[in-house]
Symmetry: C2
Subunit: 259 residues, 2 copies
């Protein structure tokens, strides 16, 4: 049985009351208030299985345990994960909408096989989304945001110096994600997250991360954001993502066999 990452329930699992409830706290604020406030943070969440299954399958796909084109048999997944077919099916529905699997009627789920064309399109879309993200970030950034950006930048530079590839990739992701969070646009953040995860899925196995040059570009980007120069921030980010795109494409055309 595989372990379900039930801890990964994510913040999306809001847990609030259906209605304001009859008992009105507005006027008659009695005792038990502090107690209720303390206990309101339930320790044991019901943890919907479908969410855990969704996370588990996404992880299995991204990590490559489930290969593109592979047929996902519901009963098999259910047994491996120790649940019934029902939560598995619900997770598969979401995976389809998110683009991780293809659901063929009466045949079941298959891990999505991205074509090179689709991968190229993903990079293009990511570029415009990231550009917009940088522009918004430049408009909304506060001093403490800039501070944090430089910290993340330093993390990346350190990882680069130490040759720690895994940490380097993590630092890069963290920096871009923080810029997106500074941009303060939830719709944009959601799309970037979707697209970015797919890009990493497709390119991480066949391309190594960029090096010093990329982090110099990050540095310029942060400076532009710090100045509140949205145009320049967007332009720097646009070139940055374009260079990353070229970098990936070159490695692909050069042949993926350079482990």
């Amino acid at each position: 049985m595989l372990t379900l990452p039930s801890a990964t329930l994510s913040a999306a699992t809001t847990w609030q009351s259906r209605r304001p409830s009859r008992t009105r706290w507005q006027n008659g604020a009695t005792m038990r208030e502090a107690l209720t406030a303390a206990a309101s943070r339930r320790v044991t969440r019901p943890a919907p299985l479908r969410q855990a299954v969704y996370d588990a399958l996404t992880e299995l796909i991204v990590s490559g345990s489930l290969k593109p084109g592979q047929h996902l048999v519901e009963a098999e997944l259910a047994e491996h994960l120790g649940v019934s077919r029902q939560p598995v099916r619900e997770a598969l529905q979401r995976l389809q909408t998110a683009g991780w699997v293809d659901l063929r009627p009466a045949q079941g789920a298959f891990v999505h096989s991205p074509t090179e064309e689709e991968a190229a399109q993903l990079l293009g879309v990511r570029a415009v989304l990231e550009t917009y993200s940088a522009q918004l970030a430049a408009q909304h950034a506060k001093p403490e945001d800039i501070e944090r950006l430089w910290e993340l930048q330093q993390d990346g530079v350190d990882a680069l110096a130490e040759g720690d590839v895994e940490r380097l990739v993590a630092a890069n992701t963290a920096l871009h994600e923080f810029i997106t969070s500074v941009a303060d646009n939830a719709v944009l953040a959601e799309l970037i997250s979707q697209v970015g995860q797919k890009v990493r899925w497709y390119y991480t196995p066949i391309a190594k991360p960029r090096g010093k040059e990329a982090w110099n570009e990050h540095s310029q980007l942060i400076k532009a954001i710090a100045k509140g120069d949205a145009d320049r921030a967007g332009e720097v980010m646009r070139k940055h993502t374009e260079r990353t795109t070229d970098f990936y494409r070159k490695q692909i055309s050069a042949g993926a066999s350079q482990g």
Copy 2:
């Protein structure tokens, strides 16, 4: 019982064999080839209920029959649609990922209530996506595409002259969608579709469509695309969507009561 738009199965329902099948058509191309090719387009598709339910619920939400914040009781929906709870649940999963409903654990599905902030963010994201779409369209457009664009433009101008609001909105959508199809980026098209549908859902009930000015801008846009001038096409589209954004915002701040 509500009618299920089962005809709306969409092209996404690919229907091909799980594996290349043992019978290899590569070498031994025998008879029955033409026959098979003709019969391959099955007339009677199984029509997965979940898809029909998904389409039906989306329609109900977009049309306003199901109001934002409304609690969707599975058993109720199932009975109305004449199916069991299972397909309903699967459809709800997809609706959640697409952002149409919020799923609260142990409480069920609620029609998503977009905030004004979210609506504004949608407009911003749509602007950058449409801009990119216009740029790509300018790069990829063929002569026959330009021809078709002018036809669609004429449709809109005619509808405007006749004061046919419904046809005007349809023409506008058709023009933008065709530009996206010319852009030839499936990933982009998918995102624009998602965002666009949400924008229409939010703004159509409270804002009237733009008039002559918008179609003049369309005309400029088509000219730029015809010349293959990606920069100008993008710039025109960017201003076009920004003006639409302003147009919507003004009507909202002016108060929605201007039937």
